[in-house]
């Protein structure tokens, strides 16, 4: 059984850049593999180990500009390949940038349909940058497949998949017929860092980038693009307590906390 895994080249939220007026400089924030997508790749590789088949990673570039980002999304996909995916297919096209969830879902489902037949499509529960947690479901409906979200455990058995969903108060186990889409949580596994050898091998694996017309799409209309993005400002005192030794530092800190009225002695 072949498995598709969806991987996002997400804005690296640890590297947010803004100008002096607090406007976020989206184009200068580097892209990185979205954290939970690493779990999805690792899970796909685990299932492949049990059942055989190929693991194919898919992505659509959602942040522009395309020429600058083309290399970055390739690096992200090389990481997925180093984690064990067998090949990678991506769409890089300025016509959809910046993309919204509806256009990303439309593009990804077309890309998947064009590439092959997959018994299982895995994705992270949500992306690191936008966190809207609705893409896996939208893709499933576009493909006409059943879907389950927030999986903490996946068992594939005789043409069906048993998914343990990690809900706030309970674990809900659901069963769906294949082919199906499943989104995974960060707790489903602990992906290992790829070894140097795996990283080197990833460069020999197939990687293909398409434009939307190459996958048979016209420029789609965005259903709900964001109108603005604002930086959340944090204003803290940022005072580093210094001293001759740790005793002095501890005393100064305690005095500060008493002064602030947050510690009573």
């Amino acid at each position: 059984m072949d498995i598709a895994v969806l991987v996002k080249a997400s804005l690296d939220v640890n590297m947010i850049k803004a100008d002096s007026e607090g406007r976020i400089l989206l184009d200068s924030i580097p892209l990185a593999i979205s954290e939970y997508d690493r779990n999805a790749v690792a899970e796909a590789v685990r299932i492949k180990g049990e059942l055989g088949g190929r693991v194919v990673a898919f992505s659509v570039l959602t942040w522009g500009p395309a020429d600058k980002r083309a290399k970055e999304i390739e690096n992200v996909m090389r990481e997925a390949l180093a984690l064990g995916a067998d090949e990678a297919h991506v769409v890089v096209d300025d016509a959809i940038l910046p993309s919204d969830v509806s256009v990303t879902a439309e593009t990804l489902s077309n890309l998947i349909k064009k590439t092959g037949d997959f018994g299982l499509i895995l994705a992270g529960e949500g992306s690191m940058d936008m966190m809207s947690a609705q893409l896996p479901v939208r893709i499933a409906y576009k493909l006409g497949y059943p879907v389950a979200t927030f999986a903490r455990k996946i068992d594939v058995i005789n043409g069906a998949v048993k998914v343990t969903r990690d809900l706030e108060d309970v674990l809900q186990v659901v069963e769906l017929p294949l082919p199906a889409v499943v989104s995974v949580t960060g707790e489903i596994n602990q992906p290992r860092l790829p070894t140097l050898l795996q990283i080197r091998k990833s460069f020999a694996k197939p990687y293909k980038a398409y434009t939307i017309s190459e996958i048979g799409m016209d420029t789609p209309e965005k259903l709900f693009p964001f109108d603005d993005i604002k930086l959340v400002t944090v204003s803290r005192k940022n005072m580093i307590i210094e001293g001759e030794n740790l005793e002095e530092i501890a005393e100064k800190l305690i005095d500060k906390l008493i002064e602030e009225g947050v510690v009573r002695v």
Partner: protein
């Protein structure tokens, strides 16, 4: 305009009603509220015209049932709790009707003629604004929008479940923690800077001295399982809003620290002077926690005379 609020608890209906009231007062559009409870039974919630009920079912079956209702009643908005089930159900409904969906709305604002729905993105470091238009699906966090429950008593109607291919085969309990971080005044947060579970004893001792609780970063709860999920602070865990947060051996990833942004004073203890946590804190101590915590605890005890 008609809006449907879905949920499996009465509080979900109240949260959704609060959002509707806030939106209505921002836009000046009057919105008629309908409710749908899946499982949990229908209690009286004033402010709704009608409350539908259906037995507990898979997210797919709930979504099918809601989708049918939308078609029958020409509903223009659907609102669900910003929880995992609510998110899946609403994503399904939004997919059926190709509707915009705003996940976990955090605020409503106005600029000129337009009303915008806001939500946190980028691990909480930024807010995205989406122009409000209908039809639209929205998930709403608990207690974010206060509702006034007044008006007529709703009618009730039971709905037939429209099943799908998803079978719920089992529901297992999850270990429940007893710690309520959201209500704690003082929290000592522990992160991957701790090398072993036993070392957390220092943090517990410090928390006890300060009449506080111990919280943690995601890896400590999710990967190491040293502490329960009830102590997990962050956008996917608990939001904290006490007087003092002392983050020890925590790097300051936005997904963690932004959930502490309503805390009055934040202290960071980290051996790396370039750790991002220092930009999010009021007071910083650059030191090895294994050396600093024992001294800090000793000095606190001296000051307190214990």
């Amino acid at each position: 305009m008609k809006a449907l609020v879905i949920g499996n608890k009465t509080s979900h209906l109240v949260d959704g009603l609060g959002f509707i009231q806030a939106l209505s007062s921002e836009t000046g559009v009057s919105i008629e509220a309908y409710g749908l409870l899946y499982g949990g039974g229908a209690e009286e919630t004033k402010g709704f015209t009608k409350i539908f009920s259906m037995p507990e079912a898979s997210p797919e079956a709930v979504a099918n049932t809601v989708s049918k209702l939308i078609e029958k009643m020409t509903l223009e908005m659907v609102i669900a709790p910003a929880e995992k089930n609510g998110t899946e159900i609403l994503s399904r409904v939004a997919s059926v009707y190709d509707m915009p969906m705003i996940t976990e709305v955090s605020g409503i604002s106005k600029a000129g003629e337009n009303t915008y729905l806001e939500r946190a993105i980028m691990g909480g470091r930024a807010t995205a604004l989406y122009r409000f238009k209908t039809p639209m699906a929205v998930t709403v966090p608990a207690k974010k929008f206060k509702a006034s429950e007044s008006g007529a008593t709703p009618e009730f109607e039971e709905l037939q479940v429209i099943d799908g291919v998803t079978k719920v085969v089992e529901v297992l309990p999850k270990e429940k923690g007893a710690v309520d971080l959201e209500a704690a005044d003082v929290i000592v947060g522990v992160g991957r800077g701790f090398k072993a579970k036993d070392d957390l004893a220092m943090a517990f001792e410090l928390a006890e001295l300060l009449d506080g609780e111990v919280g943690c970063s995601r890896p400590v709860a999710a990967d190491f399982k040293w502490l329960g999920e009830d102590r997990w602070i962050g956008i996917s865990g608990k939001k904290i809003r006490g007087k003092l947060y002392i983050a020890v051996g925590i790097s300051g990833a936005p997904q963690h620290i932004m959930a502490a942004s309503d805390t009055k004073v934040i202290v960071a203890v980290n051996k790396d002077k370039n750790a991002p946590i220092f930009t999010f804190s009021d007071y910083g101590v650059v030191a090895d926690l294994y050396q600093f915590l024992p001294v800090f605890i000793k000095k606190l005890k001296e000051k307190k005379g214990v």
